[in-house]
Symmetry: D3
Subunit: 256 residues, 6 copies
Amino acid sequence: MDPKVQVPDAVLERFRKITAATAYSGVWRLRPSESAEWFASATWQRCLMHDVWPQTPGRRIVGRARTLRYLPPRPDLLEITRQGADSAEYRAMGRCGPGDVLVIEAHSADPYACAMGNMKTRQLWHNQAEGIVSDAAIRDLDLVAEYGLGVFAKQRSPAGNLPFIEGYEENEPINCGGVLVMPGDVIIADDDGVVVVPAQHAEKVIDWIEEQEAAEAWVTQLIDEERVPPGKYYPISEETKQRFRESQQAREDFTR
Amino acid sequence: MDPKVQVPDAVLERFRKITAATAYSGVWRLRPSESAEWFASATWQRCLMHDVWPQTPGRRIVGRARTLRYLPPRPDLLEITRQGADSAEYRAMGRCGPGDVLVIEAHSADPYACAMGNMKTRQLWHNQAEGIVSDAAIRDLDLVAEYGLGVFAKQRSPAGNLPFIEGYEENEPINCGGVLVMPGDVIIADDDGVVVVPAQHAEKVIDWIEEQEAAEAWVTQLIDEERVPPGKYYPISEETKQRFRESQQAREDFTR
Amino acid sequence: MDPKVQVPDAVLERFRKITAATAYSGVWRLRPSESAEWFASATWQRCLMHDVWPQTPGRRIVGRARTLRYLPPRPDLLEITRQGADSAEYRAMGRCGPGDVLVIEAHSADPYACAMGNMKTRQLWHNQAEGIVSDAAIRDLDLVAEYGLGVFAKQRSPAGNLPFIEGYEENEPINCGGVLVMPGDVIIADDDGVVVVPAQHAEKVIDWIEEQEAAEAWVTQLIDEERVPPGKYYPISEETKQRFRESQQAREDFTR
Amino acid sequence: MDPKVQVPDAVLERFRKITAATAYSGVWRLRPSESAEWFASATWQRCLMHDVWPQTPGRRIVGRARTLRYLPPRPDLLEITRQGADSAEYRAMGRCGPGDVLVIEAHSADPYACAMGNMKTRQLWHNQAEGIVSDAAIRDLDLVAEYGLGVFAKQRSPAGNLPFIEGYEENEPINCGGVLVMPGDVIIADDDGVVVVPAQHAEKVIDWIEEQEAAEAWVTQLIDEERVPPGKYYPISEETKQRFRESQQAREDFTR
Amino acid sequence: MDPKVQVPDAVLERFRKITAATAYSGVWRLRPSESAEWFASATWQRCLMHDVWPQTPGRRIVGRARTLRYLPPRPDLLEITRQGADSAEYRAMGRCGPGDVLVIEAHSADPYACAMGNMKTRQLWHNQAEGIVSDAAIRDLDLVAEYGLGVFAKQRSPAGNLPFIEGYEENEPINCGGVLVMPGDVIIADDDGVVVVPAQHAEKVIDWIEEQEAAEAWVTQLIDEERVPPGKYYPISEETKQRFRESQQAREDFTR
Amino acid sequence: MDPKVQVPDAVLERFRKITAATAYSGVWRLRPSESAEWFASATWQRCLMHDVWPQTPGRRIVGRARTLRYLPPRPDLLEITRQGADSAEYRAMGRCGPGDVLVIEAHSADPYACAMGNMKTRQLWHNQAEGIVSDAAIRDLDLVAEYGLGVFAKQRSPAGNLPFIEGYEENEPINCGGVLVMPGDVIIADDDGVVVVPAQHAEKVIDWIEEQEAAEAWVTQLIDEERVPPGKYYPISEETKQRFRESQQAREDFTR
């Protein structure tokens, strides 16, 4: 499945300036279409991965998702999957260049199973990829981190992928950490967690976030000056946001 | 993916006479091919589902697997999946007739999400299917059980599938309960658990089981007669099994 | 906190004819008010208790919630709580008569802690209460069940409440199984799970359910007659529901 | 380690008339010796097994503990353990006769590992043992239950003991369900749970219980007659118990 | 509920010199009153929070507890709780000044729910509070840590409080991490964990600790000098402590 | 049980140059003997501890296992275990010198129970032991780490061993983290995890590892030079390894 929308680097750059927490808020507020009966339709709010943790603390990653799905191995499955350099896991990594993140659904019954270690991920280093997000464990982290990759995974482990999981297909929609990841979606991950932004809404989300961040900074200043409980201005109501917009306008008018 | 092997009803009938525990032993002993380096290859032993429990106690099911996979929902995913009677979940149930079991990978982040309840599964009743095996919860169990279906699932719940999971694709290999299920594999499930027998080895497995069960009955008789600890004859060694075969031969010669 | 709305017995009687699964759907579709920014407001959908399981299988209970909250014990807390017959737990049970359910937030760190056993719950039998819903374990279940109470709890256990939990306050809002329970809310619980219906919306919910159940029965008949995948008519669209309403009207006109 | 005290059948018979919940209370109140600094010494209160559940519901067992411990297997361990009829697991079962319970510490990393199934436990049936208490899973439960054994275990499973656990030593102190079990301790288990009574205190415990049960019956009658909250008389204070004793004495005097 | 005892800053200062581990031992040894039947009364030993972890490693906090309790949200609950600057969460933070710790019972069903992030906690920075202890997740930790607050919480997360939890009441007894926290109790937390010291016993506890620490230092010296297993002198018996006291007395006599 | 094989320091030194991940692979590929029926025998593959985590990050330890087992305490157990300097825990630490690791099976029902803190482990510092591996929590970690010990444990905690666990026996086979540990086995642990190498195979394992590491370095160079997906040469086939050996031989011939 080819991404419907190829998120441009310029949009990724704007996401690099914000946190995963802010990205979460930006996606959370996306309103579903009104066409369906509201309670029978899906929302965009399921965007935060569960049980996928930062393994390279202090490292934030932003990039387009390239997906890979594993299955429990069996001799007859390996006859399908073992295609050397043309195996699904290498094809998936082959799609990853700068600004791309490999996202893995391992769905492993054993939490110590590792999708990858330093040997396989060398391909991501060759390609200057952004990082790895995986619901499985990560092996050889000290070496993988040297490749400059940001790594988010279930945990660390010295185990391999066999006899637990085997790379099966790539570039299809997956479930990673309980979140739908479509090829091309924007991943933004930091020490707070991993958030998925649907590709077709990425620009709308970052537009809203940039205004919201400015509004929060403005409100914070009010709170500090007045020494009031933040609850006076936060959460930011439509009315307060309007006041903020007017103040921005006034400043712009003034500085023009 | 079409099943490579269509397991005939006659083989299913033979499986109906044994327990899931015995099926487990039969699959467990399948030796992987010698061609690969032994430690780098997969085995057949990962055949027991984890966290999938009997919901219709006392009911044993045996059948060919028809597979269905869910993903976390999102408005853009529903545009793909919502095809009325032609949706993946109805197509999957359309493949299920007598001797067939619907096997579901929901991979739900919420354990209370139900793939199905009494409305959808009515199709399985129309088709006289054998049962349902699901890593999600089951809704309306009292009604579903009236359809004569054997149900194995994570738990009971009154919730629906939205906003947790959405049927996405069918008739492909899945991971249910940590076990690979290929379309056409044999499912044998009872109050002890759910076991998957690879279709292409089903006959070999039941051949071994039938001899093993006879040998265990013969050994049990020895143990009872001699009033010895079962450890004297159990686990059954190759030597003891040879003695059993000779005794069988002798009996056959005698009764001929 | 006194219940804002006292749900009348007549409404409870209507709930007795439906399942927890249907009640869940009825609450789930309640739309929050439009006044707030949609993403910053709460919904009514958090209505299904987690980790509270049927202990008297086959028994459905329907009733008004009477609430009780426990805290971890300490000698100075017991000086407050130990008031003999006037202790919070006995006052809470004193509020329970026919059509009332005692709902307990124990929030116990130890899953084997029991809020109550057969000695204390005798008061509920005296008062002919409907049952108990508790996030703690239940002790002496065989005896408690003889009182005719429906019991939903975390698990069974032979332990007491000390040194784990101690009854502290009653008739206030609580968190049971991750769900808000206001005094007076309607509890409907069966083998599928425990659902909380906000008191002020109970009548609206049962109105919708009764029509929905009739529509589902009508749709099921269509599915059976046409032998089509349920997906043709299910989930029931607004359009199908309109057809159902017309058919009902036609039947009423005819039978008049 | 030989039991210091051999609990006589007559004491077991008295335990057969009470519940695990009452046994728990009886052990819970045993006071540790005053000689040690009170906070640096152990108590008798850790007597309730965790994560060991009734598998033969409705069946209560009472008996002397015969202990067995498993270890994770390895080829060099099997050279020690595999002694046919003289293996630890068979020696342990050889110690079990009427009024004896096999208690197993498997400490398995895999919850589906079974210590035993129908083949091995046949020895317990030969010996007319009371039952099995195990922190591992149980295999072939339908067959094992036919042997008349009461079974308490982690869960059901169709798996075997290999490659998860291997019987290693018997008749030594073990940790089953987080509780110390010394050979000879009294096990009392029913649908509420599994309680361990130290052998040397078994008689003292049952003495207290029998009086407590009579006192509770007497108090229940008061509560019923006066229609008061049980909190008026429960928990039973020393003062109330004194009143009870006097009433018993009076009745005895009267009936003499 | 106003604190019965206001622990003075001087006592807090003494606690700042010890570890949470030592505080745990000091509370653990508090003997309950002798008045109640010993097994029916509570102890002071339940003082260590479970599943509340250091989020600002290396940071120790000591302070008086100011409490806050959350409930699952619902539209009708928000009508009660949403009072702007006068909401429970802001009132609770308003009570926190230097030497005070905000302690939160969120009791969240979702482990990713955050009670607070950088916007709300700005009030604690204004007030120069000591830190936050919460059984929920923490959002925007990098920013919150810049406020100089020590943070102990379930985990990190980018999510908000809605739709999971909502601040409901403050300054009342709560259950945080399975431990009773009364307003005014002393919190001492470091990388080992979070310990609660009942306010009315804080001075008695620190008195004992200071002597115990001196005794341990004295014993450690003995162990080092004699190169013996610590078991010779540890745990410190009453007799050894007496020897220590005499040696202290001797030293004081000498240096006088 | 005395170690069958005393692994010499020279072999330990070779293990110090590799990672736990590589040690895992080296043990994993050990083939069990062919004598037994393959499916009824044990393998060497169960060598990775579960739920035992690095507490001194960045610290790798390598050493011979000295074992210690705990049991749940009870007053009568303490009469056996409390032998001052001759208690099992001190005897176990007495066996630990340079190149030795204390390995603990606590099997604690409470995850906050600590086997040891800074007082007891001072003996390991006296003896210049390598470190501690424990399935229980560790207390006073900041102090213990100062002793230069590498620590791998379930978690940190300020609690003591009582009333949860009590040291019972030492120098016997144990189950730590789901892995069999025989006295004398080689422990290799780093931030990836804890791996157990059977003493009698330690030399064979390190021989294989050293060649494998050289082969991986050689293959990595190929991958880097050819800029191909690692799958072209990895996992390393027998054929590729043969090419590697020839290239090594060629180099040796050349440099001779």
